[in-house]
Amino acid sequence: MDDNSPQTTETRMPPIVIRRATRDDLRHLVDLDGRITGRPKPDYWDDLYERFATRRLEERFFLVAETENGKDAGRIAGYVIGEVRAWEFGSEPCGWIFGFAVDPDLRLSGIGERLFQDITGRIRATGIHTIRTMVSRDNRLVMAFFRSEGMRAGPYIQLEMELET
């Protein structure tokens, strides 16, 4: 797959293209994340960009959905970030999705699904058969989304404990 050739949606509105993130997108991503989480984190996004959009691109995918035309053309409608990781936790190589959001004003129009299908397609094209993610179990919205895409509980269980002070 040619990474930089945008793919156009013909299905649901608004029309979007999904492409790799560029440095120019960063301020929009910081803004979008800030609006969703209430905490703008420019340093974090710079670092994400350096790590996932400039190196080892054959197994790292930092994708954005951009609105295509109309008065909102060129707006960053959402993003998804993932990579192929091997041998962590004794696991065979598998794809991880670890950053994912759609602009609250543009949700429920299929953009999340397009981003998801795009990144899973790219990961599949590297020869990987499994994708994973981790979701807070209180985050019913994101859980419902991944479930509707066919994801289910995997063979690993996340464990943790509070460390005494």
Binding site: R137, D138, R140, M143, A144, R147, S148, G150, A153
Partner: protein, 154 residues
């Protein structure tokens, strides 16, 4: 999961897979091999919760009246069972250390179960059904039970 809950979910998936369709209690009962008597009570509860509506008369029956994309399995389960994550501890001021320890484990499992049921919508269940093929035995199989069906993951 209790039998009533199970029947309710199966009936809802059946109705939600084609919201336009009216299905009689006896047809649903036959499909899932449950008594019409038990099913009728379950459908009543679902009706009171606004998830199904009934039409009387010829060709009448139940049809789906909720939003399949918003109703989760947990919403249905809660109509029939107490899913509060508290499990059973009794009076906390009297509970012993072993009771607390067991309670913690049970609560952990319950929270996982609720998160799972709470994130799976009826629409997701309908979508997932596509993964299962249904093998129907030939009608004229000698001595065979013509209504016998078998499902298996593909």
């Amino acid at each position: 999961m209790q039998q009533s809950t199970r029947i309710a979910i199966l009936a809802l998936i059946e109705l939600a897979s084609d919201p336009e369709r009216q299905v009689s209690v006896s047809d649903i009962g036959q499909k899932f091999r449950v008594s019409s008597h038990h099913l009728a009570k379950v459908m009543n509860t679902l009706g009171r919760a606004g998830l199904v509506k009934s039409t009387r008369g010829v060709g009448g029956g139940y049809s789906f009246s909720g939003s399949p994309r918003r109703i989760t399995l947990l919403d249905v389960i809660e109509l029939f069972e107490d899913t509060s994550a508290s499990c059973k501890l009794g009076d906390p001021t009297e509970a012993t250390a072993p009771e607390w320890a067991l309670y913690d484990v049970n609560r952990e499992i319950k929270e996982m179960a609720n998160a799972t049921y709470g994130s799976i919508t009826l629409a997701t269940m309908v979508k997932q059904m596509g993964k299962y093929r249904v093998v129907t035995a030939p009608q004229d199989a000698a001595g065979g039970d013509a209504s016998h069906t078998e499902s298996a993951p593909v």
